[in-house]
């Protein structure tokens, strides 16, 4: 059950006399303040401070404790995270401590010119004297408190429970807290700090671990896992398994029990609105529009074509007319006659005439066969133009030889062109044939064909991806592990091998001893060579596979209704949103807590799961008893038969059984072990302090301002409470 803060301003401050002490439980998680002698603290809030800027006015304000997030929207909280006065369990930031005390006293209803009541405040075990000094100074100087007493919260809790008969006067207090865990032995009702043991792990680490695990498992929902939410999750769902390994095995095998133990958190999710298939009229309307557009396009095309035909015909007629005119003119006058028209000679006119007729024919849309005929005719006519080719060399004059060479050249080029055309035609035929075969195969057995295609697609895509990954990994490890070199276990591909070879031989093989690489300009051509090698090799290999993959995927898209092409999700980080392979379903928005439920509190027993190399809870009990260094068997038995669990982090279900089993492992066989939980692990420390402060002998245990100034720091160091009054 989550903790609930309460911080209403109390109104009865003035009813309490000046001798009534105020009791403060200053914990790393919560701050509790109230009057001595009462059962419950008046004001409880989280021990954090935020200093955001107000968006409208721009002033920096202080907000203490956790508040309704809706109200915080008026403040700019980006540069001010919540800050705590604690570092591990010791107070070190007294400015923040002051804000917290301000708030606490204010909500207790304090008025008047100073706090006129003695104060009992809790601290950690063996608090460093500097922290104590500063705290005392703060209370005396700023608040004007008459007297102060410091005590350990775990001890108060133990005394309270002892009073209620839960534990005996000799016993062990195990106190897993927010940032640290303590085990303190009690002998004759007094804590023996010599045997105390502290591990720096607590509820904070458990929540943090859970938060990280969930963020890594569900990266797209990372924004949902705020610290407060994760703490709620932890308090509601986490438990401690009696034996971690067997529990983990249950989950690994996927048994029914494991299914039952998995809790599921459904994030709010709205399915996207389903598009309705367009109705009949819609389809008809769209078809009509398309018809009309098509019609319009066709008309435009017609108009263009007819205008072009007209133009060509005009040109043709003009040229024919010109030719006719030419025939009437004499030879010698042709050039001057033609100067105006823009043609130089008769041949030119004739050739352009031929061209125009050809294009006219094409525009009119006559079958290509005729065109081919025309081409062939022109080809054969070309052949006749190589008269000199077949005549052997020795029978020709030098000019004729030159002439022959030119003709030979022309002939070979045209021959080559013909050959290329033929090859193209053959390929076309071949492809047609293959397609035909494919179609037949598909028609006769569609299922099998589909299967084969799919399998081939999968194989190819895996191969391509693997190659890509290898390349990326190769580049990665080249960049990260050993710059420019080879990562362990990497095989060099041919390009990299070549590169290494070039580097080692060509670059450093210049003369003995001296490295003159770079003195000459052509040395740098080496790099061009290397990069060329790299590119060539990689591209070629990939191309054919990728091309085939593209072909198969397009084919599959046509014929397979259920096929979805695999998107190119690169090996680099997944996008912050779910890759859209398929439409999002409800399951994508569910957070499953299975193994995490008992993996996270396990770190209390095995801190080296999070890298903290210290003893866990069960081992700490043994360490503590060992540190007492009494060989009194009896005492040890008395200690283990009254073990009290207190502190916020001991509320996990299954904790006491696990602790008992753990301690039994390290104690001699048959020794009595009894583990009990405090009545209220969270509030018991405050309650114990409250009853203590209400006792008559309490004033003797406090120290006043005068004492502090006279006796100084050294005395403060040795200041210890006496818990039995």
């Amino acid at each position: 059950m989550p903790f609930i803060s309460q911080f209403h301003r109390q109104s009865d401050y003035n009813y309490f006399s000046s001798t009534t002490p105020i009791v403060i439980d200053n914990g790393a998680s919560y701050f509790r303040i109230g009057w001595a002698g009462e059962t419950d603290p008046r004001v409880i809030f989280r021990n954090i401070v935020q200093r955001p800027r107000h968006k409208a006015t721009g002033e920096t304000v202080t907000i203490v404790g956790d508040h309704d997030p809706a109200l915080l929207k008026y403040f700019d909280c980006t540069r001010s995270g919540p800050r705590s006065a604690f570092d591990s369990n010791v107070v070190y930031q007294f400015e923040i401590m002051e804000y917290i005390l301000d708030f606490g006293f204010d909500r207790l209803g304090a008025n008047g010119s100073q706090i006129d009541h003695p104060i009992l405040i809790t601290e950690c075990v063996c608090n460093p004297v500097q922290s104590r000094c500063k705290m005392a100074e703060l209370l005396f100087e700023t608040y004007g408190v008459p007297s102060v007493a410091f005590g350990v919260d775990a001890a108060f809790s133990y005394k309270y429970n002892q009073r209620h008969g839960i534990c005996d006067k000799d016993g062990l207090a195990i106190c897993p807290g927010f940032t640290t865990t303590h085990v303190i032995p009690f002998i004759d009702g007094e804590p023996v700090y010599k045997g105390c043991c502290r591990t720096n792990i607590g509820g904070f680490h458990v929540t943090d671990y859970l938060k990280q695990l969930l963020s890594l498992k569900y990266p797209h929902h990372m924004a949902r896992f705020t610290w407060e939410k994760v703490e709620d999750l932890k308090m509601e769902h986490c438990y401690i398994a009696p034996d971690y390994t067997s529990e983990a095995r249950l989950f690994q095998k996927g048994t029914k029990e494991a299914e039952d133990k998995t809790r599921c958190w459904q994030l709010p999710w709205v399915p996207p609105p389903v598009e309705e298939p367009p109705s009949e009229e819609e389809i008809a309307r769209k078809a009509a529009i398309k018809e009309r557009q098509g019609q319009r396009l066709r008309e435009m095309a017609e108009a263009k074509r007819s205008s072009r035909i007209n133009e060509l015909e005009n040109q043709l007629r003009g040229m024919e007319f010109l030719l006719q005119q030419l025939e009437q003119v004499e030879e010698a006058e042709i050039p001057s006659f033609l100067k105006d028209t823009g043609y130089v000679s008769k041949q030119e006119i004739e050739s352009s005439l031929v061209k125009v007729t050809l294009s006219l024919r094409k525009a009119k849309g006559e079958p290509k066969a005729e065109q081919a005929e025309v081409e062939e005719k022109s080809d054969s006519s070309m052949n006749e133009k190589y008269p000199l080719v077949n005549i052997p060399d020795n029978m020709l004059t030098p000019e004729q030889i030159k002439e022959k060479r030119r003709q030979l050249f022309l002939k070979t080029t045209s021959d080559g062109r013909q050959r290329a055309k033929q090859k193209r035609q053959e390929e076309e035929l071949e492809r047609e044939r293959k397609n035909q075969l494919d179609e037949e195969k598909r028609l006769e057995n569609p299922e099998l064909y589909l299967e084969q295609m799919r399998v081939k697609y999968k194989e190819l895509s895996e191969k391509v991806e693997q190659r890509k990954r290898l390349k990326a990994n190769g580049n990665h490890s080249n960049g990260n592990n050993v710059p420019g070199g080879v990562g362990r276990g990497e095989r060099l591909n041919a390009a990299q091998r070549e590169r290494m070879r070039l580097l080692t031989t060509a670059a450093f093989d210049r003369g003995k001893g001296e490295d003159t690489f770079g003195a000459k300009d052509e040395d740098w051509q080496l790099y061009k060579l290397m990069s060329k090698d790299n590119d060539d090799d990689d591209d070629e290999g990939l191309d054919e596979d990728e091309v085939e993959l593209a072909q198969i995927s397009s084919r599959l898209q046509e014929i397979d209704p259920a096929f979805v092409p695999k998107l190119d999700v690169g090996p680099s980080q997944p996008a912050p949103e779910i890759p859209r392979f398929r439409p999002l379903t409800k399951e994508d928005f569910q957070i499953l807590l299975g193994v995490e439920r008992f993996r996270c509190p396990e770190i209390l027993f095995h801190p080296n799961l999070v890298g903290i190399d210290q003893a866990g809870l069960d081992e700490m009990a043994g360490v503590s008893i060992r540190r007492l260094s009494t060989k009194d068997q009896d005492l040890e038995e008395r200690l283990t038969s009254s073990i009290l669990m207190t502190g916020g982090s001991c509320l996990y279900p299954g904790m006491s059984e696990r602790l008992e089993a753990g301690i039994r492992m390290i104690r001699p066989c048959g020794s009595p072990i009894k583990v009990v939980r405090a009545l209220d692990p969270i509030l018991d420390a405050w309650r114990g302090a409250s009853t203590y402060a209400a006792a008559l002998q309490f004033p003797q245990q406090t120290f006043s301002r005068m004492d502090y100034y006279e006796k100084g720091e050294d005395w403060l160091r040795r200041y210890q409470f006496c818990y039995t009054l």
């Binding site: 202080t62 109200l71 690994q252």
Partner: protein, 124 residues
């Protein structure tokens, strides 16, 4: 200030009657505020615990020793028992399927998993 913020009394008032020295007097604006507080490590160093008797408990002596129990090895990704270890990424894994996942993780995630165990490579 918006009315609901005033009503909720979210903000700490700057002047409190029961204080002898107010915050704004103690920490005038413009001065560096948080930097002169010593962190725990510095406090402990300044304490000079070796000058005092080793018998007396102090903050440093009561810290617990490294664990004597055998280290529990669990898979970094799933939490199952993990007898295997990947030398390239330094992650522990429990079976071949998980190994596939381990090898396909981008480097950022690998470092974050390692950071859970306090085994990440920290470049200062």
């Amino acid at each position: 200030m918006e009315p609901e913020v005033m009503k909720a009394e979210l903000v700490l008032p700057t002047h409190l009657s029961f204080k002898r020295v107010q915050m704004y007097e103690k920490y005038p604006k413009g001065q560096a505020r948080g930097r002169h507080w010593k962190h725990l490590k510095q406090i402990l160093q300044a304490e000079n615990f070796q000058n005092y008797l080793a018998d007396e408990p102090n903050y440093v002596n009561i810290e617990s020793s490294p664990s004597m129990h055998p280290c529990k090895r669990i898979c970094d990704i799933t939490g199952f028992e993990a007898p295997y270890f990947d030398p390239r990424t330094n992650l522990r894994y429990a079976s071949a399927d998980i190994f596939k996942i381990v090898r396909s993780l981008p480097n950022e995630y690998v470092q974050r998993y390692l950071a859970l165990r306090n085994a990440a490579v920290v470049l200062k």
